[in-house]
Structure formats: C-alpha cells, structure tokens
Symmetry: C2
Subunit: 270 residues, 2 copies
C-alpha cells in the first residue's frame, strides 16, 4: 500500500471533476489488461483535451515498490489524471500541466461471488445521455454514487442502471453481459456508461457482441453477468427489488463459459 497523496484545492479534478481515472488490477506488481486501460485513458484525454502522460510516467505509478519488497499477489492501482490547476473558472488553461496521482492497495477477489453468483436490483435512477462523455472513465460520477445509495442490503451486490429509454446500460461499477440464443452480449455505450476494459477485451476477442437490452426483456434472457477488470465476472442468480424480494431467478450454470473466458483474460486461476 502506498501513502495516499494530497492535492491542492485548486486542482480542476476536485473543482469540476475535470479528469479521468483508471482502476487497474496488479498481479505480482504488473498491470493486467494494461493496453486496454492505456487506450481508455488516451480516449479520455482526447475527449477532454488533456495531454496524455508519457508511458514512463504511467509505468512509474506501479514501479514504486522497493526491489526487495515482497509484493502482495494482487493489488488494485488507482490512477487519476486531472487537467491540473489553473484556468479562469471553467475555461481551462491553454497550456495545461496535468496532475497524475496514484495509489496502490492490496486486493483479494470475492471468490464466493464468483462461485455462488449474486443478486442485483434495478436502480430507480436513469442515466442521463451525454454522447460527448459516454464510454470514458471521467471523474463526474455522481450518478453512480446516487445509484449505489439506493440500497444498503448486503445481499444485493450490484444495481443495474438503465438510460431514459429504459435500456440497460451497465451496473453501478461493472459492465453487464448476457446470454441469448447461445451467444454473449453487452449493451452499447454510445450515450452513457463506462466502457470497462474487461468488456473491451471480451469484445476484441469476439467473445461478446453489442446489442441493446430493454428492461422489458430482462426477465427473458437466458443468463446474466456483471463484471469488471478487478473483480472478475459475477453470475447473476436473482433479480430482486431494493428490499430483497426475488422477481426472477437464473440457475447458476455448471459450466460458465463467459466467466472462464473473462477470468483467463484477467489471469485468475480457473
């Protein structure tokens, strides 16, 4: 675990959420799916007009351990890149000096969620549609916070988020995957949502494809999962109300092809 850095009040990441972040799984000190994280960071920098840090600066965020230090097997590395300080109000400085901050914490996956599956609810909040910001992992995450505040029950592991047309987009901190007609699918993220790196990796390996998922179809799909590049893939075994009443059950697959593929990409033992 690294010491938590401090930042100044006038940092634009703090003032306006003017920046992007990545949450990266480290195994034995090396980042997993790094090419995907770097690609999303680059897209975020392009969208916001923030200069992309050098590879050396990014690599320094995980090359911080003493050579002799015994690393925890798995850690989570959080990298935050902001436009830095300055500018006049919302107007950014013409030549920004971005601020790159990072923090590393030990991490253990939640194995019981892998094997037993989870319960999810459908959040009341509907995601706003902003194509200019869709897909990137920017620092404006109040919708996710408000959605995650909708329930406190420990037996609800995630909440599904739909847009204002009632199409499922994602979960509060994970992407959504489902099985229908023998294939695996994930919703489009052109209007809202965060394009997770595990989702991108599954897409580029052609293990999943993009299709819309109306809320009204949710109870008719064969199987449902949520997942991200840190926690792996959780099969959803029940859709429940905010107070835990079961609305739909899915049986836990004996052979979970999607989870196995995702965990292979993340280097988790099968």
């Amino acid at each position: 675990m690294t010491a938590s850095p401090m930042l100044p009040f006038d940092d634009r990441g703090f003032a306006y959420g003017d920046g992007v972040f990545e949450t990266v799984l480290l195994r034995d000190g090396e980042p997993i799916l790094w090419d995907y994280h770097r690609a999303r960071l680059r897209r975020g920098c392009e969208v916001l007009g923030i200069p992309m840090p050098s590879d050396a600066a990014l690599e320094a965020t995980w090359h911080t351990a003493d050579p002799g230090e015994r690393l925890p097997q798995q850690e989570v590395l959080k990298i935050v890149l902001t436009r830095g300080s300055g500018g006049r109000g919302y107007a950014p400085p013409l030549t920004p000096f971005p601020r790159l901050l990072s923090h590393r914490m030990p991490f253990t996956p939640n194995f019981s969620r892998w094997s037993e599956g989870i319960h999810v609810c459908i959040c009341d909040l509907r995601l706003a549609q902003q194509p200019r910001l869709a897909g990137i992992k920017h620092l404006n995450r109040l919708e996710n916070v408000l959605a995650r505040r909708e329930w406190q029950r420990e037996d609800i592991a995630e909440g599904l988020l739909a847009d204002q047309q009632n199409n499922v987009v994602e979960a509060t901190s994970m992407n959504v995957f489902w099985q229908q007609d023998g294939a695996f699918w994930t919703p489009p993220l052109t209007q809202c949502g965060v394009a997770g790196t595990l989702r991108e990796a599954l897409l580029s390996h052609k293990l999943i494809a993009v299709a819309p998922l109306p809320l009204s179809e949710l109870c008719r799909i064969e199987r449902l999962w949520v997942g991200n590049s840190v926690q792996g893939i959780w099969p959803v075994v029940a859709l429940v109300t905010h107070d835990g009443q079961v609305q739909k059950r899915w049986t836990r697959p004996t052979s979970d092809v999607l989870q196995a593929a995702g965990h292979r990409l993340l280097g988790f033992a099968a």
Copy 2:
C-alpha cells in the same frame, strides 16, 4: 486571500465529484445573498444525502480575517462541501464525515461588460437531462468545462447552453434572462442547469418569471442578459458564431431595468 487548502486523494469530492460548492460575493467581509447560497447548499445536501454543515461552520469560512486586517472591498469566497473520505467505491459511508473547505480571493467586477454589453455564442454541446441533479451546484461540471473549451476568442464573453430538445438552459457559468412583451424571463431548470442565487433572488422578488426559450426563438426576443451573483448582469448585444461572426444584434438599453434590479440585490452601486 487565504492560503489554498490541501485535500487527500481519497476525498470523494475528488474521486467522484461527490459534493457541492458555492461561489459567494463578499463585500467588506460579509457574504451577499447568503440566504440563497445557504438554501442551495441545503438542497444539494438533501439531494446527495450529505449532512448540512452548521451555520457556525459556514460562517467561519468568511470570518477568517484578522480583526485589524484591512479587507479588499470585494472578494469571492469559494466554499466546497464534499462527502469526505471513506465508503467502498461508489457506496458512500453510512455515517459520512463531510469535508468543508474554502478559499477567498480579491475580486473586481468587469465594469465594461456591465456598460458595453457582451457577445455570446451558442455552444455545440447539448446538456444531458438528469432531473435528480438539476438545479444544485454539484461538483460534476465537465459539461461546463467542455462547453467553455469550445471558443478561445476574448471578444466572446459567454456561451449559451441548450438541452437536447434545443431549449436554452443557461450560459456556461451564468443564468440567462430575457425580455419579451415587457416582462423578464428565465428558463426552467428542472432537467439540467444550475439554479443561480441571483436568479433565485430575482424570482423571489417577482422581477422575473420562468418560461421556456427554444433556440429557434432566440433571435426574436427583445433583449437578452446573462448574470450571476458574483459578476452581476451583462446585457448581450450580439449573438455570434464561435469564430465571431455576428448573427443577431440587440441594442444596448438606455435604461436597463433588469440590470439595475439585479445590481441592487447584489449591492453594486447603480
């Protein structure tokens, strides 16, 4: 000018924009329109579920000068209230310890904009509609930053922002007011936008009323202004393209009733 405070990396205001802020005009060390600022802060706290600070804690943000210190006549006080640190990812802590930070800077209004008026453009960005967050001054302000990045010309003072139905909502850091049929109007802010305290004060004094303003009607209105509680009210004398070409001119009123009323509320000399 107070020293700029520091905050920790794990502050949720930095991580997610999980907080609200106020930008308050101080005159001789006392806040102007404070009741309106406090009311908006309280609404923001209710929406986000953050405990409202005590009046004593809020008053301490401007009672920071030495008794013998000669204050600049006008200052701007920025107050930021975040949910503090903690929680598990987006899930907030059940008992948050909010963080209240503030910073004071000398301020002089832009007198030439008061008297000569300004040019505005129409931003290409369309505001996303999120009724859960509309009106409050939360820390998720990337849309304002992206909109303000659309032009660099010094002769364009503000940019008008419309929603996805092409209704004018606000300017990047100000509210919008217009005159039609002898009355003064401001757009509704139920789907997006920030409910400025000057706008609230003008509404509660019945000097303005709420009405929609489609972009298609903009060139037909009699007069247009933008304003906020720090800068006062700027009459708009021209609508221009991003590269400065004039699309519509309004004549500067010889007697500006709305500006006079607004500046009286702000204590600016007529």
